[in-house]
Amino acid sequence: MKPLAIALKDIQRAFQSPLGLLNLFVLPLAITGIIYLAFGGSDIGSDIAATDVIIVNQDQAQYGFSAGDLLTEILSSEGLSSYLAIREQIDPASARQGVDDQEAGVALLIPADLSLAMTTPGVESQIVVYSDPTLTLAPGMVRDIVAGVVDGMTGSSILSEMVTSELEARGEPITEERIREIVTQYTERITPAEGAESGQTALVSIEAPPTKADATRGTHLVIASVMAGIMVYYAFLTAGNTAETILREEKELTLQRLFSTPTSPATVYLGKLLYITVMVAGQGIVLHLASSLLFGIRRPALGWSALLLSSLTIAAAGFALFWMSLAKTRQQAGGIIGAVFTAAGMLGGCFTVGVPNYPEALDTAALMLPHGWAMRAWKAMLQAQSTGAILFPIGVLLAMGLIYFGIGTLRFHKRFA
C-alpha cells in the first residue's frame, strides 16, 4: 500500500499545480486543436468554393482538330467543376478586365494559332493565364492542366512531323486527310475519358471523388498520425516532469525523510513509477478520447491502442527515470527536460510524422530512441498493417523502456544508498 500512498500523494500535488495541469492536458489538447483547425477543422474534405475562370478561345482548328476546344473541354469537365466555374468570352481585354475587377479569378487566353502550332513544325504560339495574384489554388490548377495538355499536344506535332517524313521516305502521298486522321487519333488518346468515344482508354482522366469519406480519409490519417506524434512526445515529456519530483523531493528534503522511515528504497521507486505511469497513461487516455470526441480523429482498435499506450507509458517512465538520474539538481533536470526531451521528440519523429519525403536516414535514426519505435507502432496501427508489424515495434519499445528503467533505478539507488 505504501507505493500507492506515494503515488496518490504525488498525484494530489500534481493536480494542485495549475502549471502542471496546463502542461499535462491543456497544451497537448490545444496543439491538437490548432493542427485540427489548420487541416480544415470540421470542414475537412468539404468542397472548396469554385473559382470563376474566363476562357477566351480564339483558336482556329487545323485538320478538324482544335487544341483550344480540347483545353476548354478539359477545364469544363465535371471532375473540375467543384473547383473551377468556367465561362467563355470572346474579347481578351474584357476577360482581363474581369480578373482585374475580381469578377473572376483566372482568365485563360487561347490564341488563334494554337492548333496551327500544335500541328505544324516551327510554328510557335503562347497561351496566357491571367490570374488574381491573391489566389494560388485555381490559377495553379489551370496552369498545370494547360501545361499537361500542351505537352501532350506538342507530341502530336512531333508525331505528325515524323509521320510526314516517313511517308515521304516511302514515297507515299501526304494528304490533308491522312494528317487529320493521325492528329485525331492522337488527341483522342489524351482527351478525358468522359469525352472519349473511340473505346480506348484516355491518357488524361479527371474524375470527381466518389464520396466525401474517401476524400477525407487521407487527411484524417495525416491528422491521426500528427496527433500520435504529439501524444508520444507529451508522454515522454510528462514522464520527465513527473520523474523530476524525485529531485524536487530531494531538494525539499522529504525524500531523505522518506528514506528515514521504514520504507525501503524499492518501495519509494515503485511509488514514483506508479505515479509516472498513472500520469502518462491518464494523459494518453484523455488525449485519445479528446482526439476522437472533440476532433473526430479515427483511432485504432481499442485493444491495440491499450497495448501501445501501456508500452509507451512504461517506456516513457523508464526513459524519464534514466535521464533524471543523471541530473544532480532540479535546474539540471529542467535543462534535460527542455533540451534532451525536445531533441529526442524531434529525432524520434514525433514532429515530422506528416512531412512528405522525410529522409530515410533520419527515419532510421529515429529508431535509436523509444520515440521512433512508438511512432512506428502508431503508424502500423493507423495503416492497419499486419499483427507482426504492430507487435514488433511495441516489443522493442517495451524492452527499451525496461532497460532505461533498470539503469535509472540503479543509479538512483546508488545515489541515495
Partner: protein, 312 residues
C-alpha cells in the same frame, strides 16, 4: 537500565574528510542525551547513520538490539527522526502531511486517524489541520516537523537541532514538549549547538568536535572538568608582570596565566575578586582596559577542551 542506542567505534569518511572518527556512545532507555558541538562537529552525520540514511565507513549502531547496518528497516521502525531542516509537503495540509507520513510508518485505518488527531493536539496544530502548510509560520512548520516523527509512537526520538531559526515562544513549546515526551518514557537523542538547551533538557551530554567525542557526562560532571571556578579574562594597558605578582597574593585567585598585556584568572567568586583586582592594578600604575567573566558552564568546558568557543 537497558541500552537503547549503542554507537560502537563509528567511523564515517567522505573522501579525505573524516566526518566521524571512532565515536562510542551508549544511550540508556528513557534518557535524554544531547550531542553538543559546533557546526561540522559530526553530529548530523552520526544521526544520519543512526537513521539509515548513510552507511558507516566502519563500526555500527545498535538500537534496542538491532544493528542499523544489518537491519536498517527494523531500526527505522523504532525511531522517529526530526530532521534539522523542515521536511514537509508545503502545498498539502497538516492533516494530509500527517496521514501520508503515518502510512510511511506503517499506520493505517482507525489507528492512523487517531494518531493524526493525537499528534495534532500534542503540537497545538489541531485548529490549523486543514490549511496548506506553506502558509504556516516557521514555528508552526517546526511543530509539524516534530509531529511527523511522533506519529508511530516511536521508542526513540532523534531531534537534529529542532529549534534552529524559530521564535522564543516556539522554542519554549518544543523544549517543554520534549520534556513531556521523556516523562512518558521516550528516549531522546538531541543535537544542538545551544548549550543552554543541552543543559536544560539532558540527563547526559556528549561533546563532539572534529568528528570525535571529546567529553561525555552529566552537566555537573562536565563542568567539573574546568573546576568550580569563575574564569576572568583581563586586558591591561601595560605589561602585566608587576601586577600579576600582586594578584597572585589575593586569596580568591586560584590560578593565573599571563601573556603580555592579557591575563586569565580562575577565581572562587568573580563578584568578590573583581574589586580587588581593579584596586591592585591601580596601585601598580596599570589600568584594566577590558574584562570578560565566564562562569563554569558547557561553553567553558568546550573552550577548555578545544581552545575555541562553541560558536566559532
Amino acid at each position: 537500565m537497558t541500552t537503547a542506542i549503542a554507537i560502537r567505534t563509528l567511523h564515517k569518511d567522505f573522501g579525505d574528510i573524516q566526518a566521524v572518527q571512532g565515536v562510542n556512545i551508549a544511550i540508556q532507555a528513557g534518557e535524554v542525551y544531547s550531542l553538543l558541538g559546533p557546526n561540522g562537529a559530526g553530529k548530523t552525520t552520526t544521526i544520519s547513520i543512526l537513521c539509515g540514511l548513510l552507511q558507516p565507513t566502519d563500526g555500527d549502531i545498535v538500537v534496542n538490539g538491532e544493528s542499523v547496518v544489518r537491519k536498517p528497516q527494523a531500526v527505522k521502525a523504532m525511531i522517529g527522526l526530526v530532521p534539522q531542516q523542515i521536511a514537509i509537503y508545503p502545498n498539502m495540509s497538516a492533516r494530509e502531511n500527517l496521514r501520508f507520513w503515518g502510512r510511511m510508518y506503517g499506520l493505517n485505518g482507525k489507528l492512523l486517524h487517531s494518531r493524526v488527531d493525537e499528534v495534532l493536539d500534542l503540537v497545538g496544530l489541531a485548529d490549523r489541520a486543514k490549511g496548506a502548510t506553506k502558509k504556516f509560520s516557521g514555528g508552526m512548520q517546526r511543530r509539524l516537523n516534530i509531529a511527523i516523527a511522533l506519529l508511530h509512537h516511536p521508542q526513540i526520538v532523534i531531534m537534529d537541532e529542532p529549534t534552529v531559526g524559530i521564535d522564543p515562544q516556539s522554542r519554549r513549546a518544543i523544549l517543554d514538549g520534549i520534556k513531556a515526551l521523556n516523562r512518558e518514557g521516550m528516549t531522546v537523542l538531541y543535537t544542538t549547538h545551544y548549550m543552554e538547551e543541552a543543559q536544560e533538557l539532558s540527563h547526559r551530554i556528549g561533546i563532539m568536535d572534529h568528528g570525535k567525542l571529546i567529553a561525555e557526562g552529566s552537566h555537573d560532571e562536565l563542568v567539573k572538568i574546568v573546576g568550580e571556578y569563575d574564569r576572568i579574562d583581563l586586558a591591561l594597558n601595560t605589561a602585566a608582570d608587576a601586577v600579576c605578582e600582586a594578584w597572585r597574593d589575593i586569596p580568591d585567585v586560584h590560578q593565573l596565566t599571563a601573556e603580555e598585556d592579557r591575563v586569565e584568572l580562575l577565581v572562587e567568586d568573580s563578584n568578590e575578586a573583581l574589586p580587588l583586582l581593579f584596586e591592585t592594578a591601580t596601585a601598580h600604575g596599570s589600568r584594566i582596559t577590558s574584562v570578560a567573566i565566564q562562569e563554569p558552564n558547557l561553553e567553558a568546558v568546550f573552550l577548555h577542551l578545544t581552545g575555541r568557543a562553541l560558536r566559532d
